[in-house]
Amino acid sequence: MKYKMKPGRILFLAIDVLVLCLITFVCFIPIWHIVMASLSDPTSLNSYTRLVFWPLKRMDVQAYKVILQYKTLWISYRNTIGYIIATCLLTSILTTMAGYVLSRQRLYYRNVYMMIITFTMIFNGGMIPTYMVIRRLRMIDTPFAMIVPGVLSVFYILVMKTSMENVPLELEEAARMDGASDFTIMLHVIFPLCKASFAVIILFTAVAKWNDYFTALLYLPNKSEYYPLQMVLRNILVTSTSDLTSDTVSMQNNISLYKKNIEYACIVVSTLPILCIYPFVQKYFVTGVTLGAVKN
């Protein structure tokens, strides 16, 4: 239906586009600023107080050379990737199992089990009691503390359960007639039909693990060799207690001039990979958020 736009409408659309452009700009510019500033000439950067749109003076990659040699960062990078792989594996196995069990109508007391599980979403024991349990399990200061607590999330179980409930019962019956066990049915009949939800759960778990520093702060108090990337970044960017940029060390190594460049370069190497991957998985990501919200 084509019709002439009123002046008021045109004004509204103009303001709308302007506001959206502004939001986009504000979302994007800090990231751009960080990338460009990390490549800038350090003396000009340290006295420059405006947005950096392009490397100042000349491209300087010294900061990247410095952090390339900073082992702690790369070890933590490796740790984080390890945690992500382990968590995703465990989460996917357990969530699939939970989703399968709780979506079977033949299970007696299904609603009771559901209530037991969803209750933990409404009420929880809190930080210290959970910490005590982890400590009693002797997980403090071990990599397990980074993986096991929080490996199952009620929310993902609900997503998995709903998508498995939508698989027709006849498929399961047919497989059962052919002599398939529950395990086979789960793996070869139900699971292939729920791959979308599965992908989404993996994606979200991976992003959450990537961003997580708090678990390490709580459960890895004395083991810096197990630190995930975010914990090392915290020491560099926030508390300035890392052996890379703390004042005493940078004086010795003559890199205090590069402090800002190094900080920004750390942000770049730790954030750019995920920002580069994300547009390719955006589709799943959007389905995921919607899926979780609509189905509940």
Binding site: C21, I31, Q105, R106, G126, R176, Y213, L237, K260, I267
Partner: protein, 331 residues
Amino acid sequence: MNEKFIKKRGIVKRKRCTVGYRNEGGIKAIPHNLALDIRRNRMLYVFLSIILGYFLVFHYIPMVGLLMAFEKYSPVKGIFGSQWVGLRHFKNFFTGPFAVKLIRNTVIIGLLDFAVNFPAPIIFALLLNEIKNRAFKKIVQTVSYMPYFISSVVVAGMIISFTKAGGIISVAFSFMTDHVSENLLNLAEWFRPIFVLSGTWQWIGYGSIVYLAALSGIDQGLYEAARIDGAGHWRQMWHVTLPGIMPMITMMLIMRMGILFNVAADKLLLLYNPANYEVSDVINTYIYRVGLGSMDYGMSTAVGLINSLIGTVLLLTSNRILKKTTGSSMF
């Protein structure tokens, strides 16, 4: 015993049969017998016990640990051996010097965060919905989701770097207000806006996803009908668009209510420092500091329990209220 049971009931036992299905019309459901059920569906119960075991260990046993809130907890004596002190921790907290400040900060930051960051994605989605150009829409969406992928540590690092004396935000404000550029995080009046607005930056795009999905699900016929009835764009938005996404807003509101005063401690812990304790110290950061910093487990657990209970009550009440008023709810 099970064979006997089946014979008595006159049900033929078939190998791997579907007798157990409750909701199948054709096959008669067997009377409930857990032992038999477990034998039939062994695998199912193995899975179930793993899952329930996980929740037992990591969610229900900590609830037993809440007893520490009423004890003078000593690690040597354990939870069941420690001396019972009743409500002393609660009394100490509420009469202590921190309670008023913590509760005030928690409520202010929580409400401010809610007032700004709950409507922001809705407005953003509505604005985006008015745009018909696909390419522009796509670019705005892709870019605005980006900050979500930046970890809170990096966000905190960026905030610290931008707002300290000589940082770009600090300098920009010093131009506007004619003051010298100083560390904004140390100034009480700046801490809250910085915390809340950086949250907007992080979440606005991500938060709008669900609303955009709801918006795309609205029947286009409704708009046409409204147009034929002579509704302008504003009236269409008021009478078609808003009712269309209302269920989604309701649900997000309930979920949001549960964490209203559960201010994100992980981000606050990165941004706060002794200079801004006065405005930045909230219940969650206190729980962390007292519990794991000064090892006062009893006190920390007690405050945590209050916090959990407030969250639960808020979640359930808002759910109840919205169920009555709008008919949609979560539970």
